[in-house]
Subunit: 205 residues, 2 copies
């Protein structure tokens, strides 16, 4: 089998859709898909490991990376900067690894411009009520904060048609099975398979 | 959930690739995918059922259908005519059924012209040796006939790059899992999902 470049996948979902659990379960499936490791300007927590959870850098270093165009997407969340390194992604996919980016709609748009072949997946909650209840359940947030989160979720969802695939997370096992199907089937696309099995096709054809 | 038109899938594979077993197993998976029922001019065998195995018609009726452009693809095999009815396909997909066509590369090209959204899958044997052995094993054919079958298989395989997906049938369970992934993931494509979940997206977005 000839070596084939890795694929880049984007998973986006508004908060309250179960994105983090889904991503963790997907990675744990061991289907040869790795989560992208982002750069961040925030301080490392005691539970975190450099180069595993994030690459931790000083804010001025992060800003220099931004200025140098080294980041394919970035965002500021609660005053901290987060971003994905172009070099890291290129090295990972050139080495044949499939990489999953867990980013929002704005990040997804930035990545699509640089990697047009990226496969993007949007996860929707099964209903507005479920989304609202999930946001309420997991937070001690005030009513105002929940209203804000709902508005942010709706903003995210308004970009759903920009994605390649849409998965409804009603039942976690079903949503996970759907995610695995997308990853597996993208690997079966003719151009990738014909590179992977070049010798076989030459022998047979 | 709003009703979505069914999808049309093509499965092509040279003889000796395990196509018939794969197709049967795929249909038996009960993933809401039905095998297309072809028209044929050949005589019905005692084991066959009209409208289940084939629609059996007189040769002159078949030729009239051909002339009237009622068939989206057709082929003559050992003197008998086989073909797929455009009306049958349209009715099936309009009723929301996903349909699998088991046809060769020439048929696939004809169908692509009429249904550009068709999803086409090509199944390859894992090696030339396996293909040759499978052709030898299942036949009492003379060496000459096997040579002819091999040449026909190679001709078929030379069109592999015209397909959307390529699956290697080395292990039947793996190949079946790959086929299911393709069918499932095609159902998760954004346009279909946004039609299916139109009310949800409107509610959320």
């Amino acid at each position: 089998m000839a070596k084939v470049s890795g694929r880049l996948f984007i998973l986006s979902a508004p908060s309250g859709t179960g994105k983090t659990s889904l991503t963790k379960s997907l990675i744990r499936k061991n289907i040869n898909l790795s989560l992208s490791i982002s750069y961040t300007s925030r301080l490392m927590r005691s539970s975190e490991v450099e180069g595993h959870d994030y690459f931790f850098v000083e804010r001025n270093i992060f800003e220099q990376m931004l200025e140098d165009g080294e980041l394919v997407e970035s965002a500021e969340i609660y005053g901290n900067l987060y971003g994905t390194s172009r070099k890291w992604i290129n090295e990972a996919i050139n080495s044949g690894k499939d990489i999953l980016l867990e980013i929002d709609g704005q990040g997804a748009r930035q990545v699509r411009e640089i990697f047009p072949d990226v496969v993007s997946i949007f996860v929707l909650p099964p209903s507005l009520e479920v989304l609202e209840n999930r946001l309420k359940d997991r937070n001690q947030d005030s009513k105002e904060v929940i209203v804000k989160r709902m508005a942010a979720a709706k903003e995210e969802i308004s970009h759903v048609s920009e994605y390649d695939y849409v998965i409804i997370n009603d039942n976690m096992d079903m949503a996970l099975r759907d995610l695995v199907s997308v990853v597996q089937s993208e690997r079966l696309r003719a151009p990738a398979q014909l590179t992977r099995y070049h010798d076989l096709v030459t022998q047979l054809g």
